[in-house]
């Protein structure tokens, strides 16, 4: 059962949207009203494919969705090693109210400078919260040079560092970086709390999450981080099969022979990096150079551009492989459009970058091995996660 948070009439948002779309091209000042930072240009018209969230109706369930409880997680998520991957800080645990607020913020276009894009514009739920395009379109029409990473199971990245170059120290500190980034969302963080607090609907959400309606950037960060940590995918075909056996190395009864063969190949050739020390998370423990470039003169130095450590050049973080079927294109720059292309890369062993990880060796996969591996990777798709209303856009 759903109810509206605000007491708007059902016609108001629609009328406002129609009005805005009709007159906006002719009245630049109107765009200025949407723009928090008057020094920044309004987005090109082509970006306004969705109405700004403040012109839509915020619809939340009468009884909050459950984000905080973990009892529904399968056993292989809760076992000792897998549990130790959890990066939830003790001072910002997931609460239902906090994650609800984070969800609303995640989809609110007012987090961008000209009220045109939200976090959810580039991190698309049905794409595993990745961007289906190699580069993401920013608030002013520019395109990023990196692919928007998927946001699947961020809670279980043990190092708790984020972005392809791991410059984000933890979710709480990194969530506002794209908001502030001059290409991505361009918001002036000095104005952000004012922009948000102008909407009365937020006051109750902040009161529920933090005990009072005060809006601060820190609280915005904490709520967003809670929502992001709640994005846990655990209901894939793999999870069903894994729950029925004592070890992931056993064949799964719900798998086809090809999927089990692919699982065996994955365990042997990929798991050392992508499924380390547990069998739940499909994340890597550290950024790695996988031989995407020949040398250090590539346009993107990854972690090395942040640390200036010679050993880090060309190292990139890897997102979770959960839902990898839908999170393409792949790699930090989205250079590989398909999983076939990714496997071709690992089959060849990649290029001869001096920092290439020793684990990236030519696999020389046969065609049937590639097909089996892809069949297995597709068992990591979690349709419920990709359409879970708890994670969907609450602005109707």
């Amino acid at each position: 059962m759903r109810t509206r948070v605000a007491g708007r009439t059902s016609f108001a948002p629609l009328l406002a949207l129609l009005l805005a779309l009709l007159i906006a091209p002719f009245i630049p000042e109107l765009a200025g009203e949407w723009t928090s930072n008057p020094n920044l240009q309004a987005a090109p018209q082509h970006q306004l494919d969705r109405a700004p969230s403040d012109l839509r109706t915020l619809t939340l369930p009468a009884v909050s969705y459950r984000y905080a409880s973990i009892e529904m997680l399968p056993v292989h998520f809760r076992q000792g090693d897998a549990q130790r991957f959890d990066n939830t800080p003790t001072d910002n645990p997931i609460t239902d109210a906090g994650a609800t607020l984070g969800r609303v913020l995640f989809y609110d276009t007012r987090l961008s400078a000209n009220n045109t894009i939200s976090c959810g514009s580039c991190h698309v739920q049905k794409a595993g919260f990745a961007d289906p395009k190699p580069g993401s379109r920013g608030f002013a029409g520019g395109t990023t040079d990196r692919h928007a990473m998927n946001l699947v199971n961020l809670r279980y990245h043990p190092r708790g560092r984020f972005f392809w170059d791991e410059r984000g120290g933890n979710l709480e500190s990194m969530v506002l970086m794209p908001v502030e980034n001059h290409l991505e969302m361009g918001q002036d963080l000095k104005q952000l709390s004012q922009v948000i607090s102008r909407d009365e609907r937020y006051l109750e959400l902040f009161r529920s999450a933090f005990g009072d309606p005060v809006v601060t950037n820190e609280r915005i960060s904490r709520a967003l981080a809670q929502f992001l940590r709640s994005l846990v995918s655990y209901q894939s075909k793999y999870d069903t099969g894994r729950a029925a056996v004592s070890s992931s190395k056993e064949d799964f009864a719900n798998f086809t022979p090809q999927e089990n063969r692919g699982k065996a190949l994955f365990e042997r050739n990929c798991a050392l990096c992508h499924l380390p020390d547990q069998d739940a998370h499909f994340v890597m423990k550290e950024a790695v150079n996988t031989g995407l470039d020949d040398d250090t003169r590539g346009t993107d130095g990854g972690v090395g551009d942040i640390t200036l450590n010679p050993r880090d050049l060309g190292h990139f973080k890897s997102p979770s492989l959960r839902n990898v079927e839908v999170t393409g294109p792949y790699m930090h720059d989205g250079r590989f459009a398909t999983l076939d292309a990714v496997l071709d890369h690992y089959s060849s062993g990649g290029k001869k970058h001096p920092n290439k990880d020793v684990r990236v060796q030519p696999l020389n996969l046969t065609n049937s091995e590639k097909a089996a591996l892809i069949a297995f990777l597709k068992t990591l798709t979690d349709p419920r996660f990709l359409s879970d209303p708890r994670f969907s856009d609450p602005f109707q």
Binding site: T90, D305, L313, R359
Partner: protein, 339 residues
């Protein structure tokens, strides 16, 4: 017999770089001894860990970092100003700009690149320890063949027959290699020494995995720790002349090489098994045999001190029933698991 802690710390630090984060997670309490490990695990693992450690060698020089950063100097003034860097890199200026002029010159970049800054230390984390190839780190060819057959997911009877053929092939490979090695070292060793050497070598090569377990707030976990049979190390305990040692070492290297699956041996094995496999299965078998098996080295436990036990420590291994012999363990009491 107790060894000093320094040896173990040197050994572990050679293979492990622990981050500040892990040091928090695995904070060791104040007492001087936090761990126990059997001495054979140290002796036999020296070579393996050295191999695994190759993965953390520095192969890009600071000069390359300098050249890369200076390529962002668009106006050619010899400095990289903050607005010449991409937004994600602009934090570098605050951290490396010693002259506080808002830009980085080559000296500042080089200095920052070479210095072990706290930021880098915290950033760095090879939590999984080093990685290396099983064929040089203790995973026998026999195990590689068995694993490869297992991964093919053959029908049960075919699987059994393929494993029988694979085991016979491995028997011959290992037997021939051992006989050749014994022929060389036998004149150099007394009879009891030769028996001991053969016993140790056979024992070591029969071990599939050796494990180190650790406890973390009461939670016991297990990690595979590949430790190779290292005949050169085993021969080191016997008094040989320099010439004998040179000859024995060469024979030991040959012993290892003779057990590797080179192209000819791989083809011979595939030919033996091909009668019971489909063409596609044979192709997959050949491809998988050609892949060098990767193994993981010692995990990063942070800084701790340990003592070394003379007696092998037998542990319960909660594995999948595979024949595993545990020869040592590290048991780290954890003061905090704060994240």
């Amino acid at each position: 017999m107790r060894y000093g802690c320094a040896a173990l710390l040197m050994l572990i630090s050679s293979a492990v770089m622990a981050s500040a984060q892990d040091q928090v997670r695995f904070t060791a309490p104040a007492p001087t001894v936090d761990a126990v490990i059997h001495r054979d695990a140290i002796v036999n693992s020296l070579n393996s860990l050295a191999l695994l450690n190759k993965n953390v060698e520095v192969r890009v020089s600071p000069e390359e970092v300098v050249a890369r950063l200076m390529s962002f100097d668009r106006n050619g003034d010899g400095k990289v100003a903050i607005n010449e860097l991409s937004e994600r890199m602009q934090g570098l200026v605050a951290r490396a700009d010693r002259s506080a002029d808002g830009a980085l010159d080559a000296t500042e970049i080089r200095s920052f690149s070479e210095s072990p800054q706290s930021f880098q230390t915290a950033f760095r984390n090879l939590q999984g320890g080093g990685y290396g190839f099983g064929d040089t780190g203790g995973l026998s060819t026999r195990t590689h063949i068995e694993n490869t057959i297992e991964d093919l997911r053959l029908a049960p009877q075919v699987n059994q027959e393929a494993k029988r053929i694979g085991a016979a092939f491995a028997d011959e490979l290992e037997g021939t290699a051992l006989a050749n090695l014994k022929r060389v070292v036998a004149p150099m060793l007394a009879e009891p020494q030769l028996a001991e050497f053969e016993r140790n070598l056979t024992s070591a090569t029969s071990v599939r995995n050796r494990v180190i377990t650790m406890s973390s707030n009461g939670t016991r976990t297990t990690q595979t720790f590949a430790i190779g049979a290292e005949p050169v190390m085993m021969l080191a305990r016997y008094p040989l002349t320099p010439e004998q040692r040179k000859t024995a070492s060469a024979a030991a290297e040959t012993f290892k090489a003779e057990q590797q699956l080179d192209d000819a041996r791989r083809s011979a094995l595939v030919a033996q098994v091909s009668g019971i496999l489909t063409d596609e299965e044979s192709d997959n078998f050949r491809a998988a045999l050609a892949r060098r098996p990767l193994v993981k080295g010692l995990g990063a436990f942070g800084n701790f001190q340990a003592t070394i036990s003379e007696e092998p420590v037998r542990l319960q291994f909660p594995g999948n029933g595979a024949p595993v012999r545990e020869i040592g363990f590290i048991d780290v009491p954890v003061a905090s698991t704060s994240r």
